[in-house]
């Protein structure tokens, strides 16, 4: 299953250090199928032009290509409003500026969790510096969010920001329950879905969340593009974030008026080729049965985790049903970087470090972990090569 899919990805014909590439750094970024790369090449080779407010043929094609991306996102995730950003991080910063700054008062409470990626912590810390809101962090206990603590933290909360699926542990949080608890408490909810959308299809309206942020590059799309989905009611409370071309209706020296749709939040020439590439990725993904891949990969990951433990590693991922196929682990004595570099010497790509989640690292009591993250093109043979590679490292370092 995985093997035939690799043929769609040009990168898998490459060798790393004389070995076929085994790519297990998917939580950082995924590889791109040929159709995505081709779509961008085609765009630049045939239709490249600036979009909107234009009447020539190329500009029309470029506008259609770019707006097709938004349309596909609206359909796939069931959202009336889709603002295109440069990624998850910009999407969350957009929410903090365009909604947070205009709807929160000094002393208002924003609830975060200890499991958040830095991109869902720092924008709120910066907002707290600007307008003196209070941040409360829901603790992580044994790799799970403490929902009793959430209940307490919700008292008086205006906004709850929670990572759907952890990039460090692969844990899928009970977002449905968190959203309903938050809504009952009268809070708006932002979901960091960077690690979620690659693994499951989410009906944004059905979740009841107000914001959902994610990046194309983690779901077979290009770098430099992402999105913020916004509920109708939250959209109506938002004010422009960045100013410039395309987001205005009229500009005079005395002041400006803004567009009323999503363009209001997309200042400047948009990510046109990236939109075209992401649209191709979304079309490609719509042919894929994510759920069955998800189950297949989770099984692989569980097997890998089990064997790593047998080999003396400490595994932090719990890999419960619904979790992403992410295996975070450490060795009692071998430094994660030495470990990763010795794997790289065998063509195996994994990531090490704090994974932009230092508060979670602190909770786990480590400086960093080694993280092997699996995606739809990975197969049993990748897992085998990985485990054999681990053995060679252990031998060499014995």
């Amino acid at each position: 299953m995985g093997d035939s899919m690799k043929q769609d990805f040009p990168i898998f014909s490459r060798q790393v250090n004389g070995r076929p590439l085994v790519y297990l750094d998917n939580a950082a970024t995924t590889q791109k199928p040929a159709c995505v790369i081709d779509a961008m090449t085609q765009y630049y080779s045939l239709s490249n032009a600036n979009v909107h407010r234009a009447v020539h043929t190329l500009a029309g094609e470029a506008t259609e290509g770019y707006e097709a991306c938004r349309k596909l996102l609206k359909q796939r995730y069931n959202s009336d409003y889709v603002v295109i950003t440069s990624g998850t991080t910009e999407a969350i910063n957009l929410a903090a500026h365009a909604w947070g700054e205009h709807n929160l008062q000094p002393g208002d409470v924003v609830v975060l969790t200890e499991m958040e990626h830095h991109s869902d912590i720092v924008p709120w810390q910066m907002l707290a510096e600007r307008i003196a809101i209070e941040l409360r962090f829901v603790p992580v206990e044994d790799g799970e969010l403490d929902l009793d603590a959430l209940e307490v933290a919700l008292d008086g909360a205006k906004l709850v920001c929670v990572v759907h699926t952890s990039n460090v542990l692969g844990v899928r949080n009970p977002v449905e329950q968190i959203i309903s608890m938050s809504k009952s408490a009268g809070a708006r909810v932002l979901i960091d879905a960077a690690q979620a959308v690659p693994h499951e299809l989410i009906d944004f309206k059905e979740t009841g969340a107000d914001f959902m942020a994610f990046s194309a590059h983690k779901m077979c799309g290009p770098t430099g593009i992402g999105a913020l989905l916004i509920s109708d009611s939250a959209f109506s409370e938002m004010h422009p974030f960045m100013g410039g071309g395309d987001m205005i209706q009229t500009v005079t020296l005395e002041g400006s008026t803004y567009q009323t749709n999503e363009h209001k939040f997309e200042a400047g020439t948009p990510r046109i080729a990236e939109g075209v590439g992401w649209a191709a990725a979304l079309e490609w993904m719509s042919q894929i049965d994510l759920e069955s891949h998800h189950k297949r990969l989770l099984k692989i990951a569980k097997n890998v985790a089990g064997q790593l433990e047998e080999k003396g590693m400490k595994v932090y991922s719990t890999l419960n049903p619904g979790d992403a196929a992410v295996v975070s682990f450490t060795h009692p004595t071998i430094h994660p970087e030495d470990f990763a570099r010795l794997l790289d010497a065998q063509g195996i790509a994994v990531r090490t470090g704090h994974h932009c989640a230092q508060p979670l690292m602190e909770k786990l009591g480590v400086n960093g972990t080694i993280r092997a993250s699996f995606y739809i093109y990975n197969d049993d043979s990748d897992a085998e090569i990985f485990l054999t590679g681990i053995d060679r490292v252990l031998e060499a370092m014995a």
């Binding site: 407010r53 043929t57 506008t63």
Partner: protein
């Protein structure tokens, strides 16, 4: 689909043209079909939103039949209004509500009219149907 004869003729006329320049010339010829809305009557309620050029469009029902008056500064937009007029003028509200805007695409009128413009057509088409709906309710 079964278009009214008037529209069927237009579709065929456009389909025979191979050159885009000529197609646009023919489109502009339809500007003359517009029953012109005088400048004094231009106002916010008959302004066509989403158009890049200035366009106005007024729908009225006389003797239980639909009638358009319109105006645009760009001649091609007025041409689209002309075709729209041919499609709906003198038709019953029921017939007008059954129309779909794809005839413009079928005719190739919108081939290479970029989204902003074809949306302009769509916007005008939707506006006509909405006004008709309001009028007969």
């Amino acid at each position: 689909m079964n278009w009214p004869d008037s529209i069927q003729e237009i579709i065929e006329e456009f389909q025979e043209i191979e050159d885009q320049f000529e197609r646009l010339e023919v489109l502009m010829d339809f500007a003359e079909e517009v029953d012109e809305l005088p400048v004094e009557e231009w106002n916010d309620s008959n302004l066509v939103r989403g158009c890049q050029s200035v366009a106005h469009l007024e729908v009225s029902i006389r003797d239980e039949l639909v009638w358009l008056r319109a105006a645009a500064d760009a001649k091609m937009v007025q041409g689209l209004q002309g075709i729209l007029s041919i499609a709906v003028n003198g038709a019953s509200p029921e017939i007008v509500l059954q129309l779909t805007p794809d005839f413009a695409e079928e005719a190739g009128i919108l081939v290479s009219l970029t989204p902003s413009r074809s949306n302009g057509f769509r916007t005008m088409f939707d506006m006509v149907q909405n006004r008709v709906k309001e009028a007969i309710l």
